[in-house]
Symmetry: C2
Subunit: 428 residues, 2 copies
C-alpha cells in the first residue's frame, strides 16, 4: 500500500472514530492490553532479534538499553494502558454552553482531531503508549518508530491494531510506516494528516518542524532558566538551582542557565551548593568576579542545551534584563524566578514568554504527570493549540454544536426575534 | 526600516505588552477612539484621494463601495471600539487551577499570543477593528491593507499607533507594511511572527496558507451543506434551506449544497420554496428525477462555492452517505441537519468533521456576533487552536503559572513528599 493510500484510509478511519462511545474506546484498550499479554512470546522473540542485530552493529549501550523490551517493560506498558482506561474520556466535554435564544442552544464540545502521525525514535514502549493515547482520544494514528526496533514495533502493532479492530475500532485506525521515504511522503499529505507528534532528540524534532507544514506538537529545545532575584531566600535559591540542574540533567526541563541579580549577595553559597551536587559552573565575567574566580563563559551564545551537569551563570542588572535575556535566548519551555516579592514574581511570570513560568519552584516540575494531567502526550513549546505539558486534551480539538427548533437568521436580521446570549452551565 | 526590523521591533513590543493591565489596554482604546474622532478631517481627505484614484482606474462599484470610509463608517468604527472596551479582558483568565501539593499551586492562565500579522483586502474599517482587537488582547500587530486604500490606511494607522503609544502601549505595538514584497518577506519571519490573521477573498486566504509556515487563523472556502433527513419536518426543512441559501448568499456560511435523503418525500415542496426565494437549483440526476425535471448538476465536482443564488441538490441513500459526502467535499465550516430523530442528529453532529454542526437551525448562524462572542476575529476552518467563529480568545493562548514555597522534584522522586493533585476553583 502506498503512503498516500495509508493516509487516505487513516483519514476515513478518523472519521469513523468520531462516533465512538467512551465504552467502545475503553473496551478497545482492554482488548489491546489482553492481546499484548497474550503476545508476550512473540514480542520477546522479535525484540531479541532486534537486540542481536543492534549489538552486532555496535549500537552504544544506552541505545541498546532503550531498545530492550523485556517482560518488565511489557508489564509496565500494560499497566499504563489500564491507567489510561481509568482516565476521563477527553471527548464530548462541554467547554461552554450558551442559550442564543429560546430553543436555540450552542455548545462548544471537545472532539478528536482526526489523523495523527506519531513519529518516535528507538523505544518500543513509546509505540504502545502512543497507540493507546490515540485510541483513548478517538484519533486514528499512523506510527513510525526507529528502524533498529523494526521487528519489535512490528510485533507490537501487529497485536495492537487487530485487537483494537476486533473490539470495535474502525479498520485502519492504526497503521505503520516502514521507511524514511514513507515518512517524507507523509509530511506532504496535509489533506489527510491533521497533526504530527514527534518524540525524540531535539535534532529529530527540529528536522520534522522544517520538513512539514502539518502542525507539530512537541518541543525541540529545552533551554530553561533559574533567575535569582535580589530578595531571594539564599537557602531556597540554592535548593531550587540544584534541583533544576542536577536532579536529572538530561531532561528537557532541566535548567541550563542561572541568572543572578547583581544585588543578590548569596551567589557564592548557591555556587557552592551546585558544585557540591556535582555541577560544573561556567560563569560569565561578572559572575566570575562575584565568585572570585576566572570566567569560563566568554562567548555570547546563551542558547546551549548542555543536557549534562554543566551550567552557565550570568549576572544581570535588573529583573527586566533577566526577562529580556530569557525571551531572547530561551526556548519558551520553562523558567523560574526565586524571589520574596510577589510583584517581581508576577512581572517575571507575565513577562517571560514561556509555556511554564514558576515562582519559587524547580523547573523540573514541568511534566504531565507532575501537573496531574494523567497521561502525557508530550511537552509543547509552540504557542498555539496546546502549550507546555500536554495531556490527552492535546489530542482533542472542539466543535460548535447548535441545536434549534427551526430558527432562521432572517428573523433576527428583521428584528422579529432577538438574541438572548445567556451563558448556561450545560444542559438545555 | 526593513521588514525584518519591523518584525523584530514588533516582537519586542509584544513582549512589553505581556505585562499590560486591563485598565491600560482599555485606556488605550479610549485614546484611539478619541484620536479617530479628532482626525476625521484627515481621514476623509485621504479617503477622497484614494477614491478619486480608484475611480479613475475604473475600480468596479462594489469595490469602490468597500473602499469608501465616510463619516458614518467612522462613527460605526468608533462605536465598535467602545463596544470592544466594554468586553471582558481575554487575558489573565484562570482556565484551570490545581493544588499539586500544599503550598504548590498550578494555574493555567490565558495570555497574549505575541506578534500577529493582520492582512486584509480593501475595506479600511477592517484596519481599525484589527488594530483594536490586537490592543484589547495585548498583542502587537503588523498590518497590511489593500494598496487601493493606502492613503486611508496610512491616515488611520498614523492616528491609531501614536494614540495607543501615548496612552501606554509600547513603542511599535502597531506597524504597517506598504508593499507586497514586504508581506512576502514577513511570511518567512517565523521567529518573530506568531500568527497570521487574513481577511479577504478565498483566493487571498488560500494563497497566504500556501506561502507561509506561520499558523493562519481564518478560512478560505465556505462549502456548507443542509441535509434533509428522511424524518425532517417539511416546513422546517424549507425554511432552513431557504435561509441557509438565500438570506445572504455571498456569505461564507451560506449553504451551497442541499443533500436530501431518498425517503424524504417533500423535496418538491422544498424546491418550490427555494425557487420562490429566487434560488436557482442545480439538481443531480436522482434529485432531478424526484422533481420530475432535467438534471443540471452532471459532474462530480461538489466543492463549488457559488456565493450567489445557485444551489446544488443531491439525493443520498442514507445518513452515512450524507456525512461521508460532507467530509469529502465540504470545507469544515458549517453544516446542518434537519431531522426529528435525536439519534440521527447526534450521529450527524459527531460524524461531520466541521467547525460548526447544527441540528434544525440555519447555517447562517455561524458568526461571532450570533454566537455571543462579542468581537469577531474571524471564522477558522483549521482544526487546531481556535475553530469556527473566533472571538478575542482566538488572539490568546495560555501559559502555566506555578507558585511554590521552594519545592523541589527530588523530594517527590524520593518519596519524601507526594502530590495531592486537587482541582481547585481558582484562588490559593
Amino acid at each position: 500500500m502506498t503512503t498516500r493510500e495509508k493516509a487516505q484510509r487513516g483519514k476515513r478511519a478518523a472519521e469513523a472514530c468520531l462516533n465512538l462511545s467512551t465504552q467502545a474506546k475503553d473496551e478497545a484498550l482492554a482488548a489491546i492490553a489482553a492481546a499484548l499479554r497474550e503476545g508476550e512470546g512473540a514480542i520477546m522473540t522479535a525484540n531479541a532479534a532486534d537486540l542481536a542485530d543492534a549489538e552486532s552493529e555496535g549500537l552504544p549501550p544506552p541505545l541498546l538499553k532503550r531498545l530492550r523490551f523485556d517482560a518488565s517493560k511489557l508489564r509496565e506498558a500494560v499497566e499504563g494502558i489500564e491507567a489510561l482506561r481509568r482516565l476521563r474520556d477527553p471527548v464530548g466535554r462541554v467547554l461552554s454552553a450558551r442559550r442564543l435564544d429560546r430553543g436555540l442552544v450552542l455548545r462548544q464540545v471537545s472532539c478528536p482531531i482526526g489523523l495523527v502521525a506519531m513519529i518516535f525514535e528507538s523505544r518500543p514502549d513509546a509505540l504502545v503508549q502512543m497507540a493507546c493515547l490515540a485510541a483513548k482520544s478517538g484519533n486514528a494514528v499512523i506510527l513510525k518508530g526507529g528502524s533498529e526496533a523494526a521487528r519489535t514495533n512490528g510485533a507490537l502493532s501487529g497485536l495492537i491494531a487487530p485487537a483494537g479492530e476486533a473490539a470495535g475500532l474502525p479498520e485502519s485506525w492504526l497503521s505503520s510506516l516502514g521507511t524514511r521515504e514513507e515518512v517524507a511522503e507523509l509530511f506532504a499529505l496535509e489533506e489527510f494528516v491533521d497533526l504530527i507528534v514527534p518524540r525524540g532528540s531535539k535534532e529529530f524534532v527540529a528536522r520534522i518542524k522544517v520538513l512539514s507544514r502539518i502542525p507539530v506538537l512537541g518541543h525541540a529545545d529545552g533551554i530553561c532558566h533559574v533567575y535569582l532575584h535580589e530578595d531571594a531566600d539564599p537557602a531556597m535559591a540554592a535548593a531550587i538551582a540544584v534541583d533544576s540542574k542536577a536532579q536529572y540533567p538530561a531532561a528537557c526541563n532541566a535548567a541550563e542557565v542561572l541568572l543572578v541579580h547583581e544585588s543578590f549577595a548569596a551567589l557564592p553559597a548557591v555556587a557552592a551548593a551546585l558544585e557540591a551536587a556535582g555541577v560544573s559552573l561556567e560563569p560569565d565575567p561578572r559572575s566570575a568576579a562575584a565568585l572570585g574566580r576566572e570566567p569560563v563563559k566568554m562567548d555570547d551564545d546563551w542558547s546551549v542545551e548542555y543536557l549534562d551537569l554543566r551550567m552557565a551563570v550570568k549576572v544581570v542588572g535588573s529583573l527586566g534584563e533577566a526577562i529580556a535575556h530569557i525571551n531572547r535566548y530561551g526556548s519558551r519551555h520553562t523558567d523560574a524566578i526565586v524571589a520574596r516579592s510577589r510583584e517581581a514574581a508576577e512581572a517575571f511570570m507575565n513577562g517571560v514568554d514561556s509555556a511554564s513560568v514558576y515562582w519559587n519552584a524547580s523547573t523540573r516540575f514541568a511534566d504531565g504527570y507532575r501537573y496531574g494531567l494523567g497521561a502525557e502526550v508530550g511537552i509543547s513549546t509552540g504557542k498555539l493549540h496546546a502549550r507546555g505539558p500536554v495531556g490527552l486534551e492535546g489530542l482533542c480539538t472542539y466543535k460548535w454544536k447548535l441545536e434549534g427548533e427551526g430558527q432562521v437568521v432572517a428573523d433576527y436580521a428583521s428584528g422579529a426575534r432577538s438574541f438572548l446570549h445567556e451563558d448556561i452551565r450545560d444542559g438545555d
